[in-house]
């Protein structure tokens, strides 16, 4: 999952980025309000971790504006402002979750997974499509009760397709899910990962929609 981290403190931002990366997230880190606005407008992140005291533009201000424009990206506000009134104001301005510093990295990761899952209308953390089951927290995949080993990229790709099961995702959208800034994307990377997944989970699981992208159908596909 690719998320946006907006934090102006160098040490804290660096630590959260390193920690969330180790927990399986792709993390892009911005340090001021303008950059947050720019990145969220591009809608390439599954969620945003937002510090409120950002330079140039306050985090809540940016969030309220994006919400008014219909941007529904899940937003977790991470802040040192802990008064009840501020929490309420944060949630009312469009935050989906409000966490006061300092925060446990595992908790932060779990809250982000929950936000992303809810944003995709999934009631449970574990995703089930057809006979494939994916556990985002443990980063494990099972098929018909049998564990399937996947690489990190394959897992992220499968995760994205299962979260959006029944919807077609373009190659660019999938690339955005998989890669953060500065990571080299080979031109046929998505095709290669899809190929590997088909080999491990069966050819019919992920279908190609010519000229559009890939989709994981909700029910078993006959024919």
């Amino acid at each position: 999952m690719r998320i946006l981290l907006a934090e102006d403190d160098r040490l804290l931002g660096d630590g959260i980025q390193a920690g969330l990366r180790a927990l399986g997230f792709q993390v892009d880190w911005v340090r001021d309000g303008f950059a947050v606005e720019r990145e969220l407008r591009a809608r390439s992140h599954a969620a945003v971790v937002l510090d409120l005291g950002l330079p140039h533009r306050d985090g809540l201000e940016v969030l309220a504006m994006l919400r008014s424009e219909g941007n529904a990206v899940p937003a977790l506000v991470l802040t040192a402002r802990d008064a009840i009134g501020q929490r309420v104001r944060g949630l009312d301005s469009g935050a989906d979750d409000y966490v006061v510093k300092p925060v446990d990295l595992h908790e932060l990761a779990a809250r982000l997974r929950a936000l992303i899952r809810r944003a995709h209308g999934q009631p449970r953390d574990r995703l089930n499509v057809q006979d494939v089951s994916l556990d985002p927290a443990a980063r494990q995949v099972e098929q018909a009760g049998r564990s399937v080993a996947t690489s990190a990229r394959e897992f992220d790709l499968l995760h994205a397709l299962m979260l959006n099961a029944g919807r077609v995702l373009s190659r660019e959208q999938l690339e955005q899910h998989l890669y953060s800034w500065g990571q080299e994307i080979e031109s046929n990377a998505i095709e290669v990962h899809v190929h590997h997944l088909r080999r491990k989970l069966g050819a019919r699981l992920i279908q190609t929609v010519r000229g559009v992208g890939y989709v994981m159908p909700l029910g078993a596909v006959t024919s």
Partner: protein, 447 residues
């Protein structure tokens, strides 16, 4: 008694009763003297009259008078006596008169005198008799007169003795009533919880109590202000410590979570850096708390050049890391009045800011010059400087310039401004014409 004296009611009652008693005693003494005088005049007249009666009756008979018993009918009678002389011889006397003459032969007739005969003081009057060489002397014991005067005084004294305790009780009651507003104020103050700093209502308070209440309210206001700023400071401090601690936690957890050895080392180094930063922030907070506690620092003669050199020496390692050049321009000594510790902290904060907010390889210069009899310390750099709008916000607690990547606490300027205030220094921030970055000028008045 001590307790009674400690209370206003007790003191005032005692004072009123004492003063009243003193006045009363004075008045009684005056009455006594006046009564005694009037009595003397009256009784002297009687004495003279008695003498003239005797002189007329002294029809030359040569008899030992035995009528004294008859005169004893009145209780004062024995105290009145007479002697009749013919020439130097005592011809007759009343029964209670002494046998020795009351007065000497040469005593002039018609004159009153007070004499002591056989230990008893007498008031004496003599008159010439109708016969030749006969002289009538009448006398009255002075004690008798005193008894009459005392009896008269007693009649005024005993109501007084009854009246004084009554007066004391009435005074105590009246003063108690009069002081009731004071008592009510005391009770109202005692009933307040220690945390209440609301002003006491002044309306309905008597004029004497009003200034007390007003002063109290003023005091409450000042304490409330102090407490508010304390509370704000604590809240700000707790809030500001959250981010450094969150950073330490995130870095430490990242070190535990990442698999890559290089990334782990980086996270651990960052953890240590985070601890240093938190410690620095705490130092700054403590210094600021001390500066705002209102305790005046000890001032003495300080050489600014010495202070500046020490600060630059301390800051050199940090500047070396960023390959920045530190320089000082000073000639001789620059004595100023102040606290060496605080001036060092002030200069250190200015130099630290210059180092922290200037890019790698920048120049930071400290200059000391004498100007208009005072001394000016300048810290300037060739960093990015600050826009005018942000310059005015320097010194707001925890304010950091926008887009600042360095990890400052935002307290350095608060501290610098506060120390400058304590030393009555003028602190000015502008653009450095020589280096192109930020310039901070501290103007010290003549030491």
């Amino acid at each position: 008694m001590k307790r009674a004296l400690a209370s206003l009611q007790g003191r005032t009652t005692l004072l009123v009763v004492s003063v009243t008693s003193a006045v009363w005693i004075g008045a009684s003494a005056a009455t006594w003297l006046d009564t005694r005088h009037e009595l003397d005049e009256l009784l002297d007249a009687h004495l003279a009259q008695a003498a003239s009666f005797l002189a007329v009756r002294q029809g030359g008979e040569d008899e030992e008078l035995e009528h004294g018993r008859g005169a004893n009918l009145h209780p004062y009678a024995p105290r009145v006596a007479f002697q009749v002389f013919q020439g130097p011889d005592l011809r007759s006397r009343s029964i209670d008169a002494p046998s020795t003459p009351f007065v000497a032969l040469d005593h002039e007739d018609g004159e009153f005198a007070t004499v002591t005969v056989q230990g008893t003081p007498w008031r004496v009057f003599s008159a010439p008799g109708s016969d030749h060489e006969v002289r009538v002397v009448v006398a009255e014991q002075v004690a008798a007169r005193n008894d009459i005067a005392l009896a008269m005084l007693r009649s005024t004294l005993w109501p007084m003795l009854v009246a004084i305790p009554l007066l004391a009780a009435a005074t105590a009651f009246a003063i108690g009533r009069g002081l009731r507003p004071m008592k009510r104020l005391g009770q109202a103050l005692a009933a307040r919880s220690p945390a209440t700093l609301e002003p006491i209502p002044v309306q309905h308070a008597p004029a004497e109590v009003e200034p007390v209440i007003e002063s109290l309210n003023e005091l409450f206001g000042r304490i409330r202000g102090l407490l508010d700023s304390e509370r704000r400071f604590t809240a700000d401090a707790a809030h500001e410590l959250r981010t450094p601690i969150a950073a330490i936690r995130a870095q430490a957890q990242a070190a535990l979570t990442v698999a890559d050895a290089v990334a782990r080392r980086h996270a651990l180094r960052s953890t240590v850096e985070g601890c240093d930063r938190a410690a620095r922030l705490i130092d700054q907070l403590l210094l600021l708390a001390r500066l705002e506690s209102g305790i005046a620092p000890q001032f003495c003669q300080v050489d600014l050049a010495d202070v500046a050199r020490q600060v630059l020496a301390e800051a050199t390692p940090e500047a070396l890391v960023k390959r920045q050049r530190l320089g000082i321009e000073a000639q001789g000594q620059y004595p100023v009045k102040g606290s060496a510790d605080l001036l060092r902290a002030l200069t250190r904060n200015l130099v630290d800011n210059a180092i922290r907010y200037s890019p790698k390889g920048a120049n930071v210069a400290v200059t000391l010059v004498r100007e208009h009899g005072g001394t000016v310390l300048t810290v300037e750099d060739n960093g990015p400087g600050l826009p005018q709008a942000e310059r005015t916000r320097l010194g707001d607690r925890f304010f950091r310039g926008a887009g600042v990547q360095a990890t400052g606490s935002g307290l350095g300027w608060s501290i610098a401004r506060r120390i400058a205030e304590l030393h009555r220094l003028e602190i000015a921030v502008d653009h450095s014409p020589e280096l192109g970055g930020l310039r901070v000028r501290l103007a010290f008045p003549d030491a």
